[in-house]
């Protein structure tokens, strides 16, 4: 089965997260455990408020956990680190920097020489097909282009794990499909470990080797579904019987959780 071999890259071990809000305690995650293998593409789906984003933030080291551990390459996560790149839903581009300077941001922090910084930036700006816009400011770009810049910026610092928090959630259907294809192309070339959050079941199946279904509050891993559809996957894949079966199954599982939330 896909991704069954290989080293464990990210180990999420019995993670619990409790928020102390005005209305008392809110358990966002309760006993979440998951192993992500090297080079694996894992998608997480679940109803809104199931703690998907909280989990991603914990892996990124941007949020502290209440109990449990997260390891990357066997090392416990203690805060953010450049071996884990993050792509946010709201692009999070620095609006006062041009496309090029945005992509160079992390490289400069690494203390690389300007010459090398320029070369790497060129490579990734080319990868996302934005050479023409290298000197434009984010405000001059469309949503899809902004997210491409964010992806190039995350790739440029060469992380070992990519954490993506509903990166295509704010885009229109057409742009979303296009960026999915581009992401698949890149992933097949570079095979970076990907942890991708979405609420779009189609998107999860077309991208992932495994789809993790999370249950509603408190967030837990409800089920992990192997997607044994071979790569390269294209838009035609979405018409196959296998895809539709998986879609029906995963969707019904997510829908159940959605009903739980409504209760």
């Amino acid at each position: 089965m896909a991704g069954d071999t290989g080293n464990i890259k990210v180990k999420i071990d019995n993670v619990r997260k409790v928020f102390n809000g005005r209305n008392g305690e809110m358990i966002a995650l309760n006993g979440v455990s998951l192993d992500i293998k090297e080079n694996e593409f894992v998608c997480v789906v679940g109803p809104s408020g199931c703690g998907k984003s909280t989990l991603l933030n914990i892996i990124a080291g941007l949020e502290e956990l209440t109990s449990g551990k997260v390891y990357v390459d066997g090392k416990e996560v203690q805060g953010p680190g450049t071996e884990r790149g993050v792509v946010f839903q709201q692009y999070a581009l620095f609006p006062w920097l041009t496309v090029r300077k945005n992509v160079e941001f992390g490289l400069k922090l690494k203390g690389l020489k300007q010459e090398e910084v320029g070369k790497i930036a060129d490579k990734y700006i080319k990868m996302v097909d934005l050479e023409e816009f290298a000197n434009s400011y984010p405000k001059e770009l469309s949503g899809g282009m902004k997210q491409r810049v964010a992806i190039a910026r995350a790739y440029a610092v060469n992380p070992e794990v990519l954490l993506m928090d509903e990166p295509f959630g704010a885009l229109d259907a057409q742009t979303r499909t296009q960026l999915q294809s581009e992401l698949l192309d890149t992933w097949e070339k570079e095979r970076k470990t990907c942890f991708f959050i979405t609420h779009d079941v189609d998107e999860a199946i077309i991208l992932a080797q495994r789809v993790v279904i999370m249950s509603a509050r408190p967030g837990r891993v409800k089920e992990i579904v192997d997607i044994d559809i071979p790569y390269p996957r294209t838009q035609e894949t979405k018409m196959t019987k296998k895809f539709l079966e998986l879609k029906n199954y995963i969707w019904s599982q997510v829908y159940q959780e959605y009903l739980e939330v409504r209760k």
Partner: protein
């Protein structure tokens, strides 16, 4: 019929801005002239010619430059000190909750008090010299700027800070490369409001007893019922205000053109 109206308003849009400004200026001049000849208002409003004459007189005897110079010195003196103090205070308020909780109520309280009210305190403290005027302008500009800059620091998008962290930024990088540029638009709004507060306070500050200055010139001309000089002084203060605002607006365009939506 309606179509014609549409065309007419379309045509208005094609008239360039400078023509509007010129027409507006001439209209103001005409109104002033009218007010100066109408019996019921002529006591207050000197004619435009009288104002020009008063200005030329003060240029010829050289006193006008002294008034403008000393007033600008006070405005900038108070403003610059206000800015230098406002920046760290605003950033401390944005960064440290304890500092914010203690200091913000003071600022909110004092900023509602007109500067004239604490002029006696200032005079008692530092006397009636240059210091008094600069202190009053400093307090006024500081209060306006600290609030606006603090808003900017508070409004820095947390996602941008997160994005910087995962790209390897430490606290220093985050401050210099994220918080400062992200709050620049608010800092410039603060500068604009600060300069305007400085001018507004100028007349009040110069009432603490001054021998020179535009505010003093206006006040003393008023005592002699020299309305031409009063109005001339007011107009000069207005022109200075307009010029300063244009300069800051220019800086805003240069420094914060990257913004998606312009901050007010």
């Amino acid at each position: 019929m309606e179509k014609k109206q549409g065309n007419a308003s379309q045509k208005l849009y094609t008239i360039p801005g400078w023509i509007w400004v010129t027409v507006s200026f001439l209209l103001a001049l005409g109104l002033l002239k009218l007010l100066s000849v109408m019996p019921s208002t002529s006591i207050v409003f000197a004619s435009p010619e009288a104002m020009v004459k008063s200005f030329i007189n003060k240029v010829n005897d050289g006193t006008i430059w002294g008034h403008i110079g000393i007033s600008l010195f006070r405005v900038f003196g108070g403003f610059v000190i206000g800015f230098i103090v406002a920046i760290p205070v605003a950033f401390l308020m944005g960064w440290y909750k304890i500092f914010r909780n203690l200091v913000e109520p003071w600022i909110q309280f004092v900023r509602n008090i007109p500067p004239i009210a604490y002029i006696p305190l200032v005079i008692a403290g530092v006397g009636v010299g240059e210091k008094a005027k600069i202190v009053v302008i400093f307090v006024a500009t500081f209060l306006v700027m600290v609030i606006s800059i603090y808003q900017g620091v508070r409004n820095v998008d947390v996602t941008l800070i997160k994005a910087a962290k995962v790209l390897g930024a430490n606290s220093n990088d985050i401050f210099l490369k994220i918080v400062i540029p992200a709050s620049t638009p608010f800092i410039l709004v603060g500068v604009r409001l600060g300069l305007s507060a400085a001018l507004t306070t100028l007349v009040a500050a110069e009432m603490t007893g001054a021998s020179r200055g535009l505010g003093m010139m206006v006040t003393s001309a008023g005592q002699y019922y020299d309305m031409a000089t009063v109005l001339m002084g007011i107009i000069v203060i207005g022109i200075i205000g307009l010029t300063l605002e244009k300069i800051v607006k220019f800086l805003e365009r240069k420094l914060t053109g990257w913004q998606e939506t312009q901050v007010i």
